[in-house]
């Protein structure tokens, strides 16, 4: 590679990193501002954090966010794992309908997805009094968009395995249970870890679908920020956003540590 190209690439990379991290850094920086402004820094202060931790509504939004992310991730990965395995195990059957079904949530525009579920849940609630919008409907909605991604990831991992390994299990007279316990689950561990991370980040990243399936008592942090902006009251917004940014960086750090563990068989 020529020296000029290498230099300009390096400069480009630095500019790109500034572009990617400046918006987040600004949020963190101004969350410690003594005044409510992102134009002038009037001194270091923790007042927004004090207000945040004494605000019941924000604390319950924090709890809702955590419950929604963990519940939907565990459910989504369990269901997606089964679906991905079924897709692989019976790949010789005609499963085109199933593949279409799996791709549907992936290509459906978020807003159409969210509005469909909102009208559906609202109607069910009015007609039959079931599934009234709240944390339950939000978990359902999140699981629905997590399942396909997990299934595709697990399926890809299984396809990268040597099919003879399955025959080897058979030759060794492994019962279906033993095959699952001693072969399938161990080889799928990296894929399951990756699925957990993916499902978790999908859930944390989503706003639109949560927003339209939420009920009055199931406000999450992003929804709280959204309505604060819409009402024009924004004092604690940067502090709340900082909490979520720190959370995401902790997830990123743990994923890096997991990746650093040597695993030569991991295709991802």
């Amino acid at each position: 590679m020529s020296v000029t190209l290498e230099r300009s690439l390096r400069a480009f990379w630095i500019v790109l990193m500034v572009f990617l991290y400046a918006p987040l850094a600004v949020v963190v920086f101004f969350s410690f501002n003594a005044i409510n402004s992102s134009a002038r820094f009037a001194g270091f202060s923790l007042r927004w954090y004090e207000r945040l931790f004494s605000n019941e509504a924000i604390l319950s939004a924090l709890a809702n966010t955590a419950v929604l992310a963990t519940t939907s991730t565990l459910l989504g990965v369990a269901i997606g794992l089964l679906l991905g395995y079924g897709l692989y195990r019976y790949r010789h059957r005609r499963l085109a309908w199933l593949i279409w079904l799996i791709y549907l949530p992936v290509i459906m525009p978020d807003i159409v997805f969210g509005l469909s579920e909102m009208t559906f849940f609202v109607t069910l609630d009015q007609r039959f009094g079931v599934l009234s919008p709240g944390l339950g409907t939000m978990v359902i909605a999140h699981v629905t968009f997590q399942v396909p991604f997990v299934a595709l990831l697990v399926h890809a991992r299984l396809l990268s395995l040597d099919p003879q390994l399955f025959e080897a299990c058979h030759d060794l007279y492994a019962s279906p249970w033993q095959r699952a316990r001693f072969f399938i689950l161990p080889v799928l561990t990296p894929a399951i870890v990756a699925s957990l991370l993916l499902a978790l980040t999908l859930s944390i990243d989503d706003f639109v679908i949560s927003f339209f399936t939420a009920g009055p008592d199931s406000t999450t942090l992003p929804i709280y920020i959204w309505s604060a902006i819409k009402k024009g009251v924004t004092p604690e917004v940067n502090a709340i956003a900082t909490l979520m940014i720190v959370g995401v960086f902790l997830v990123a750090l743990s994923s890096l540590l997991l990746q650093r563990r040597p695993d030569p068989s991991d295709p991802s």
Binding site: F30, I79, L82, V112
Partner: protein, 296 residues
């Protein structure tokens, strides 16, 4: 029991939870929503009988006061802003992906993570970041005033510019990842051969690099353009009323300007546009790639 019958039961048992979830909580609700488009609008804006095509007429711009081009402009703006954002994302992602792929192997996961991590934060938070940077009185806004981009004492948002920046920021990682995968598998012999034949750098890229990264580019374009077209959050927070896209038009029918059938008709339009976009990209990929298989 017959083996094939037992297999079918087994298949059904492991596939059913996932398939049912998608059918019950996505297929049925979206069919329900689409059905709403064919009803009349009741007095409170909710769907009512009889069935009619009124919602589609309204969506096309025919109202009490004759035809107005507002909705058509929104659709055209959605396509234009999606195109612009995707093009910018491609321009940024090519050097970024190449840079990562040309580093030593042990650094690559860290560099990829550096690109991806911002997209793990919530969409709303990323937009709040840009609202902070583009607010009136910030250095960036002051600079924009200085070079005459905005009026004095005004911020850089709400504006179409802010929306494009927000879209590029949101979707850049989705282009970098597949392009990086393509660069990692790049056959360098082809590049060397082109160099040996005294091809100009542009010709090397055009004939030796571009065709090899095309599958990644097409996959990335799908991952960027499809969700960008349906964007709601960025346009709402950074665009105000100035860069409204079709997603905002649809959502508004279920919120302040209640008209569910009109919103449902808009949702059908969005689904058709998405499927049409996928089809066009697929054709384009085949044409550009010749007989090479382009994974979509």
């Amino acid at each position: 029991m017959l083996k094939s019958a037992r297999d079918s039961l087994h298949l059904l048992a492991i596939v059913a939870p996932g398939a049912l979830f998608i059918v019950v909580f996505l297929v049925l609700p979206s069919l329900y929503l689409m059905g709403m488009a064919f009803t009349s609008t009741g007095p409170s804006g909710l769907p009512a009988l009889p069935f009619s095509l009124q919602a589609f007429r309204e969506l096309a711009g025919f109202g009490f006061l004759g035809w107005s081009p507002g909705n058509l402009y929104t659709l055209l703006r959605s396509v234009w802003q999606t195109f612009l954002a995707t093009a910018l994302v491609i321009l940024l992602a090519y050097p970024a992906a190449y840079y990562i792929a040309s580093r030593p192997t042990r650094w690559r996961p860290l560099l990829l993570l550096a690109v991806v991590v911002p997209s793990w934060t919530n969409q709303v938070i990323r937009s709040v970041g840009w609202m902070n940077l583009f607010a009136p009185g910030t250095p960036i806004s002051d600079f924009a005033v200085l070079i005459g981009l905005t009026e004095p004492r005004m911020g850089l948002f709400p504006s179409q510019f802010a929306v494009i920046v927000g879209l590029v920021y949101n979707f850049l990682p989705f282009m970098v990842l597949p392009l990086y995968a393509a660069f990692e598998r790049l056959d360098h012999a082809q590049v060397e051969a082109a160099r040996d034949l005294f091809a100009s750098p542009l010709a090397v890229f055009r004939h030796a690099v571009f065709p090899q990264t095309l599958p990644g580019l097409m996959a990335g374009t799908v991952l960027v353009a499809i969700p960008a077209f349906g964007m709601y959050v960025v346009t709402e927070l950074l665009g105000g009323g100035k860069a409204t896209m079709i997603g905002n038009l649809v959502a508004r029918q279920f919120a302040d300007a209640t008209n569910w059938p009109l919103g449902a008709a808009g949702a059908i339009l969005m689904i058709l546009a998405t499927v049409g976009g996928l089809w066009v990209l697929r054709r384009l990929g085949r044409r550009l790639g010749g007989d090479r298989e382009v994974v979509l």
